[in-house]
Symmetry: C2
Subunit: 281 residues, 2 copies
């Protein structure tokens, strides 16, 4: 249970429901954190299930709510949407604000073990435990949860679902970093947050986690074929091979012509919302 009531920052009516931004004090990160929640019209009279959305590098809670166009279908299906920020804010650790792919806006949804990051960069605990507990305490939602995300947040969604059996009814991802232990973004982030022992990194890598996952939650993944980061950073083929080896169900959809932008996400978000709605019942 959270000991601080979230403070309302902004509120907009949207598709008959309400989009709200809140600030609260987080135990996991030791900072204030901002998140956005979209409550569909159904939440005015009953508790609704929640889709958690994890955003990519440089994003905040705002990008998804402004650009994905997800509220329309969420209102139709009666699903709440929750979008956390992508890292702690308000700290000033050495080098924290120097690059777009490490530190601020690049928390990578791990629990950091290396100083000074471990004092604050515990985004895994934040998004899987603290935030859902707070959301379920203060808002008209059930404990039925789904999770999705984009790029770094796609990686986040996959590892949250794979590391927390029973916690999510469904998972999906757009252009996820599938194999961070083997790509430049992941190597930089994991070295910084977790240290030089590459064995320790494997606990935060979807391809590694699929091999030992107890719960075979089907993975829905959309990947644009014109994505600039496809071969070097995202590597959908690695996830495909890992799932095949482990017998883990994967629906990998390669979308011709689509890039890494929110225009790609908007084009297919309805499919993902329907996928989650089926699992959320």
């Amino acid at each position: 249970m959270s000991d601080t009531t979230p403070e309302l920052l902004a509120s907009n009516k949207c598709f008959g429901g309400w989009l709200k931004r809140y600030k609260h004090t987080s135990t996991a990160t030791g900072t204030e954190m901002v998140f956005a929640i979209y409550l569909p019209p159904q939440a005015q009279t009953e508790k609704v299930p929640v889709l958690y959305w994890l955003s990519g590098l440089t994003c905040t809670d705002e990008n998804f709510m402004q650009k994905a166009g997800a509220q329309r279908m969420a209102a139709e299906l009666g699903i709440a949407l929750v979008a956390p920020d992508t890292s702690p804010r308000g700290t000033d650790l050495p080098g924290e604000h120097d690059s777009y792919d490490f530190g601020s806006g690049a928390g990578f949804y791990v629990n950091a073990t290396r100083q000074p990051w471990s004092a604050h960069y515990n985004m895994f605990d934040y998004v899987t435990e603290e935030l859902p507990a707070l959301v379920e305490q203060y808002f008209p939602v059930t404990d039925k949860r789904a999770i999705s995300g984009h790029s770094m947040g796609g990686h986040g969604a996959l590892i949250c679902a794979l590391k927390k059996p029973g916690r999510y009814r469904s998972v999906s991802a757009f252009a996820p970093i599938t194999n961070p232990v083997n790509c430049p973004w992941g190597e930089k982030a994991f070295t910084g947050y977790l240290g030089d022992d590459r064995e320790a990194w494997k606990a935060w890598d979807a391809c590694e986690l699929v091999a030992t996952a107890k719960e075979k939650l089907p993975l829905l993944v959309d990947q644009g074929e014109a994505d600039n980061f496809l071969d070097e950073q995202l590597k959908p083929g690695a996830l495909e091979a890992a799932c095949e080896a482990a017998g883990h169900p994967l629906e990998l959809r390669l979308q011709p012509g689509y890039d890494h932008s929110y225009f790609f996400i908007a084009s297919f978000i309805d499919d993902h919302l329907r996928h989650h709605a089926r699992a959320l019942g």
Copy 2:
């Protein structure tokens, strides 16, 4: 006919069609201008009609395409979307960049008559003549046109349709500045662009134009009741009274709880697209 081929700046696949940004040299403004065009999938095999979207204060061509979620329904209906910028750019006139509601990002869709603005701030000619001519020359579109917009751009859409009978098949607006000669935003802009003679302002005011409009094109207007600018700047009641006095068809929809944001626009853009699709055939 334009003498300069538009230069492609960016391209994103979206809902099976393509969103593209272009730069070109404008005769009307004497500057380079940027616009965005969304070509739905149908445009790959046939010419499609066009909805022009005029944005509000501080916006560029990007806000609508990123935040309104219009491409989904445009792709379904087979309508191209064109979003111009909201003012000339790249000039440095006295005071041009000093306030959000005059000069840069605030062209108000008039042809300025006052120096130094008259050399560049001819957004009315640009959006009603030069840009459609260029779009119809270089892209797979028909000469069936519709127009819509938000706030300052809602005012723009209404005056473009009212001042150019026969040019548009349909018109709609979100939270338009209906009576700029009688509100602070309009008074500031018209004084600057048109001078102190208030009689001259009337040629750019929807409520005034309705009184003498030869073509009774029905106006569809959505207005959020929780819009902060409702009473002081937007004045839907003035438009309602003017239309009633003139016998001009108006569907004014007051939407409880909605504000001035793109979340309001996104919530009702599909209705507007269907309205335009019916008129565009």
